[in-house]
Amino acid sequence: MGQKGKCEVTTQTQCSKKVEEIRRVCREVRKNVLVMIGTAGSGHPGGSLSCVEIISTLYFGVMRVKPEDPNWPDRDRFVLSKGHAAPTLYAVLAEKGFFPKDLLPTLRKFGSPLQGHPDAKRTPGVEVSTGSLGQGLSMAVGMALAGKLDRKGYRVWVLLGDGECQEGQVWEAAMAASHYKLDNLAAFVDFNGLQIDGRVEEIMNPSPLADKWRAFGWRVLEVDGHDVDALLEAASYASESPGAPTAIIARTVKGKGVSFMEGQREWHGKAPKGEELSRALQEVTKS
């Protein structure tokens, strides 16, 4: 972990206020994600709930963006490579003010800007279209190269799934990112340990994941992906790592926040209904 902590330029009070605010956002996002998927009747709650802290921390504690000007040239970029966690991205973007929150319940509905997987053409704040796994990091490499070429100070953040790291293209992109010394690029891996068919290590073991990223020339951090303080600190380290991109392997729990979804692979791609939804909402609201 870097020596420079999250509170380097802020006072302790400001810092804890920021963390408190992010935690509030996370509670709101969890609730909205469940309502959205419940209303849609389909979607991916498990992997959406595992990355709530990561995406919320980026948008509310790290990235410079202008919701009223989503294509502001100097903005920091976020690429949701694991596109099936779209509900979390949408809930965070709405919370940030990129579009009205009342759009959220239209997720996956005909005519909605909130497609089942992110669609850059339809949704303000969505940088690229993802959903076919393995492609986001390459697009982020292109954005980071453009940033270097234009001598802009923006940073590019990516969120990958752990199962997604089974895609070969991820490693093509990883190689290119360190080759071109893209220190304006950082990738989180949402390491929740589960994929559709079962445990990631049983289906096709990507471990040792940290060693793999290191071997591809990346700086690597391993953090608790639900600990906002730790995520802020990791992002701060990644922002001050000259000469190389940073991979942040975030240990997470699939379905985090809903007891009956936590660590259960059947909640990868199933919507909660009726009683399940009410119970889930109760749990995330009081947590």
Binding site: A120, S132, S138, M139, D150
Partner: protein, 330 residues
């Protein structure tokens, strides 16, 4: 005689001087795709991604999203096949402004054999919504198409060839990218001898021969063969397989009523596919397709391969005779 890939490389350097937003990407084939000239003059705007085409296409999408105009080059088999999903998902679905310039299309790759001979690339690219698909006939048309593509906002696939091809268009010819070009009319007038929009009577012929890429010059040879038999034809370069110049096709359907298509590609899904689809819905008339009949390629010289796969001037003439027979039987 010049290969279209060479003209592409030269055009890139010219455009690079005018447009700082143009960047060029390659996947370890820059001396074959001819992006090496750009790399030499603009090293900071050239990115070699190594033998990793999927990543190259994704990075091109990211560069386009950031306001650059990327030209991504590799062989046509890899651009359309290996990286199909990236072209579809990362580039075309969000409508990003990426130009895919794919060299070594078709059989005339020659001795490298079937693994390197793209005969399906036009079909694969044409079926993607919003993708413009262009197969220029010679160096001059390539130069103009590349220039057009740089100015056009949206994804474009340009197919280029390995082997030198005869010049079809004079230098500086007033080609209108997107429009079909009559390169020889029934009266024997070439492209340079016709006023744009004028002298349409030269389009009254027994048969219209539509072609692109290297096949355009083969069709000009076929024109002579047919003329010697008293069959009049008009040879039209349809570089833009998508979007098709429907207006010209309808005019030719009215004036000729019989077609041949000729392409260095499978008869399935390419120019022949596009033309028959359009005509059957709008003005049904005979179309006989010259192209590869559902086979893979193989090693050989370009001329040996064109003969083996039925892509010679005589094959085109034969197709014209058949089309004319079908028209007369109607």
């Amino acid at each position: 005689m010049k290969a279209t890939r060479e003209a592409y490389g030269e055009a890139l350097v010219e455009l690079g001087r005018e447009h700082p937003e143009i960047v060029v990407l390659d996947a370890d084939l820059s001396s074959s795709t001819m992006t090496s000239g750009f790399a030499k003059e603009f090293p900071e705007r050239f990115f070699n991604f190594g033998i990793a085409e999927a990543n190259m296409m994704g990075a091109a999408a990211g560069l386009a999203r950031s306001g650059k105009v990327p030209f991504a080059s590799t062989f046509a088999v890899f651009a359309s096949g290996r990286a199909y999903d990236q072209v579809r998902q990362s580039i075309a679905y969000p409508g990003f402004n990426v130009k895919i310039a794919a060299s070594h299309g078709g059989l005339t790759v020659g001795p490298d054999g079937a693994s390197h001979q793209a005969l399906e690339d036009i079909a694969l690219m044409r079926v993607i919504p919003g993708m413009t698909v262009v197969v220029p006939a010679d160096a001059e048309e390539t130069r103009q198409v590349v220039r057009w593509a740089a100015a056009h906002d949206g994804p474009v696939y340009i197919r280029l060839g390995r082997s030198p091809v005869p010049d079809v268009f004079p230098q500086g010819a007033p080609i209108q990218p997107g429009k079909a070009s009559v390169v020889k009319d029934a009266k024997g007038r070439g492209f340079g001898e016709m006023r744009p929009g004028g002298e349409r009577d030269g389009l009254d012929a027994d048969v219209a021969i539509l072609a692109n890429g290297i096949m355009v010059s083969k069709c000009l040879e076929a024109w002579e063969l047919l003329a010697a038999e008293g069959i009049t034809s008009v040879v039209v370069d349809v570089a833009f397989v998508k979007p098709l110049d429907e207006k010209t096709l309808l005019e030719l359907a009215g004036r000729c009523g019989a077609f041949v298509t000729a392409e260095e590609h499978s008869v399935i899904g390419g120019l022949g596919g596009a033309v028959t689809e359009f005509l059957s819905e709008n003005c049904p008339c005979p179309v006989v397709r010259v192209g590869v009949r559902d086979r893979f390629g193989q090693s050989g010289t370009p001329e040996e391969l064109l003969a083996e796969y039925g892509l010679t001037a005589e094959d085109i003439a034969q197709a014209a005779r058949k089309s004319l027979e079908l028209k007369r039987a109607e």
